[in-house]
């Protein structure tokens, strides 16, 4: 059975129901709508991003459904991303936003791990450069924060 997803710029995408349901948001919408054939609007996702998201879901359509994490391990590793996924993520951060909105946890995790890998090893100034962040601390404030949180470096 197929469903029709409509992106924010009004492009239609025909997808297998099983693939679309990798998104919990879409899955819940389909349950509410029932057997109706009406297309599902996704006003927060552009066509370009939706294409990539669908590509991810197609590739992972047979993965077991993830169980929600029960405990939070502060030392989660980020070096276990599948090769295919790594190449996939090089494209666009908007995918992370889309994965968050559509509630596709595995895709969100991959995106977050990728960004974490970019952050690793960088000084605060380098992080700002990488992500175009403005430094709104005074030099004194910045030094103070650095000092008072020094203890956390062994986390």
């Amino acid at each position: 059975m197929t469903v029709i997803l409509v992106s924010s710029d009004n492009q239609d995408f025909k997808v297998d129901k099983e693939v679309a349901e990798r998104s919990i948001l879409i899955k819940n919408m389909l349950e509410d709508v029932g057997e109706s054939d009406s297309p599902i609007p996704l006003p927060n996702v552009t066509a370009a991003v939706l294409t990539k998201v669908i590509e991810y879901c197609e590739h992972h359509r047979n993965d077991p459904v993830q169980v929600p994490e029960e405990t939070d391990d502060p030392r989660k590793r980020s070096n276990d991303i599948e090769e295919w996924d790594m190449k996939f993520m090089q494209v666009d951060h908007e995918i992370i936003l889309a994965a968050n909105y559509l509630d596709i946890k595995p895709l969100l995790d991959v995106g977050c791990k990728t960004v974490a890998n970019i952050i690793k090893g960088k000084t605060p100034e380098e992080i700002r450069k990488a992500f175009n962040i403005v430094n709104d601390f005074t030099p004194e404030e910045e030094a103070q924060i650095k000092k008072e949180n020094e203890w956390a470096e062994d986390r």
């Binding site: 939070d72 502060p74 030392r75 989660k76 590793r77 980020s78 666009d92 951060h93 908007e94 992370i96 936003l97 968050n100 969100l108 995790d109 995106g111 977050c112 791990k113 960004v115 974490a116 952050i119 690793k120 090893g121 960088k122 000084t123 605060p124 992080i127 700002r128 990488a130 992500f131 175009n132 962040i133 403005v134 430094n135 709104d136 601390f137 910045e142 924060i145 650095k146 008072e148 949180n149 020094e150 203890w151 956390a152 470096e153 062994d154 986390r155």
Partner: protein
């Protein structure tokens, strides 16, 4: 390159990203900009851990700055006063321990402040943190004074109901700690009343290795409750100062209890244990059908190697009979006899039983019960028990416990031998071998249907009590594999092919003759296997090779336990 910071502006996404960052990178993010700092500092400061051994801990000034974020503090009393006085207001849980008692040479861990100052600071924290309702105390030093217990026993819940009008407090209602977890403490005479009241008011109570110092060696009446205990979950292990009957009476007051775990006192330990052990008549006075109307879990445990008070079969049966039907989900019994009367009383609970753990108790003692459990407990998730005979498997109905995750029984194929004599020449007889093999295949077929199994343990007791020898020595004596489950392909191992979730396999104290092909089959068919326990072959050289093969493939070799 497109700017990527939009995703980072969403707090949940930023928090998720930061969970993959090790310490130095996390702190770098904190320094990046104000919004990162605001989103990420709660992750760092929601729990404050102060340990004397760590040089690196936030300074009191830093703590003061973030103090509104701190919900849980975890510390040794030794370094506490300067922090305790900082003015925490948002604490919901506290852990006080004394695990790192400084030795004389650790001069830098000089205790900060005298005992009374520390306790005063603690009292302040209790009064200023109305939401502080989760207390964990492990060997705290200094020992909390009676004032501290008094304060803890008169906490009032301050969340007003929606609508604003405060409801007048009924006795026993809206009061007290949510979780009280105490271990390795001694309670003085003057603190005792308040301590017991604090225990009575806790929703979840865990009391472990607590000694009550009773004046003059005379037992006293511990029924000093002016209100009934509130605990829904109660754990009492190794409590000294009250004898068995007194402890049981204490427990019998927990009318709200859904789960009770109790290790009765070690028999005959202190001269104070003057009252006799409870007889059935005593028990009938203490435990009645109205005692625990909400009980879903009952664990009567012991520490390994300790001899505790053993309740007789009729006593256990009486306790089970007093519980409402179709309500008990968890039942663990160690150290007491579980015989036919107990088994009969357990029947009314079979439809809802999820977790059953009985200590192995002689040959065949539990076998009929185990079969009954397997064929009558649809919700069963864990079963750990003693001997399970093939004879009872064949006589009984098909197993319905398809959700079973952990199975640990001594599988006994002896009964299939129908008393045939053990004869050294018999192993040359093909008929013997085919019967022996078909028994194993039969058992594997049945176990193979339990596709949710995560842990399978068919180890044998290290000493077969009735025969006085282990299965391994018996097997070697007669120079043939004794009638135990052999995990080998010719004997039906492939019947277990559907156990795709299997992670742990234990066949300790059984004589195995495993080949590399069998291990390869296991690796191929059990993708989640991570631990194998037991000797793969009784001769050291092949055992080593096979063990090395497993280790290469990421499987840990577990250590055999003695008696289960």
């Amino acid at each position: 390159m497109t700017t990527r910071h939009e995703a980072l502006e969403i707090p949940e996404i930023l928090r998720r990203i930061s969970s993959y960052l090790p310490g130095p990178d996390f702190t770098s993010c904190l320094q990046t900009c104000r919004s990162f700092h605001t989103v990420l500092s709660p992750l760092l400061y929601s729990t404050l851990t102060l340990c004397p051994k760590d040089d690196k801990r936030p300074s009191p000034e830093a703590v003061l700055k973030y103090i509104h974020l701190i919900g849980h503090i975890k510390f040794d009393f030794f370094i506490s006063t300067q922090y305790l006085r900082l003015g925490f207001k948002n604490l919901h849980s506290i852990t006080i321990s004394n695990r790192w008692a400084p030795e004389k040479k650790d001069y830098q861990f000089k205790k900060d402040g005298i005992d009374s100052e520390i306790l005063e600071a603690l009292l302040l924290v209790i009064r200023e943190n109305p939401a502080l309702r989760k207390w964990t105390l492990y060997n705290p030093s200094p020992r909390p004074s009676d004032k501290v217990w008094r304060e803890l026993s008169s906490l009032k819940k301050t969340d007003p109901p929606a609508g604003g009008q405060p409801v007048p407090l009924l006795p026993g209602q809206n009061r007290g700690i949510d979780i009280l977890d105490i271990s390795h403490i001694s309670v003085t005479q003057d603190a005792k009343l308040w301590f017991l009241r604090a225990c009575a008011d806790a929703r979840e109570l865990r009391v472990c290795s607590v000694s009550f110092m009773v004046a003059g060696g005379k037992p006293d009446n511990c029924q000093l409750f002016l209100r009934p205990p509130q605990g829904r979950k109660v754990e009492m292990v190794d409590v000294k100062g009250y004898n068995v009957i007194e402890q049981l009476m204490f427990l019998s007051h927990f009318v709200e209890a859904q789960s009770i775990t109790w290790m009765s006192p070690v028999a005959g330990q202190m001269p104070i244990q003057t009252l006799p052990l409870p007889t059935l008549a005593d028990l009938k006075q203490i435990i009645k059908p109205t005692t625990w109307p909400k009980l879903r879990a009952l664990n009567l445990t012991r520490s390994s190697g300790q001899h505790i008070v053993k309740f007789s079969d009729e006593c256990i049966a009486h306790i089970l009979d007093c519980l409402p039907e179709h309500q008990l989900e968890e039942f663990k019994l160690q150290g007491s006899t579980f015989g036919p009367l107990g088994a009969k009383a357990l029947k009314t609970q079979l439809p809802c039983l999820k977790d059953l753990r009985l200590e192995p108790d002689g040959i065949d003692g539990q076998s009929e019960l185990i079969q009954e459990v397997m064929e009558s407990c649809p919700k069963l998730k864990v079963l750990r028990a003693g001997m399970f005979s093939v004879r009872h498997m064949r006589q009984g109905k098909p197993w319905i416990c398809h959700g079973l995750k952990e199975l640990a029984v001594h599988v006994d194929l002896e009964s299939d031998r129908d008393g045939a004599a053990i004869d050294k020449k018999v192993h040359k007889d093909p008929a013997y071998w085919s019967k022996y093999s078909s028994s194993r295949r039969y058992v594997f077929e049945k176990i193979g249907k339990l596709t949710e199994l995560v842990e399978l343990d068919t180890s044998m007791p290290i000493n077969n009590s009735q025969r006085g020898m282990s299965y391994i020595s018996l097997s070697r004596l007669y120079r043939d594999p004794y009638w135990t489950l052999d995990y080998q392909l010719p004997h039906g191992l492939e019947e277990l092919a559907e156990l795709k979730k299997l992670e742990k396999l234990d066949f300790s104290n059984t004589l195995q003759d495993i080949l590399q092909t069998d291990l390869e089959w296991m690796l191929e068919n059990w993708p989640r296997l991570n631990m194998v326990t037991g000797d793969l072959y009784w001769k050291a050289d092949r055992q080593k090779k096979l063990a090395a093969f497993l280790l290469e493939n990421g499987i840990q070799i577990g250590r055999s336990r003695g008696n289960k």
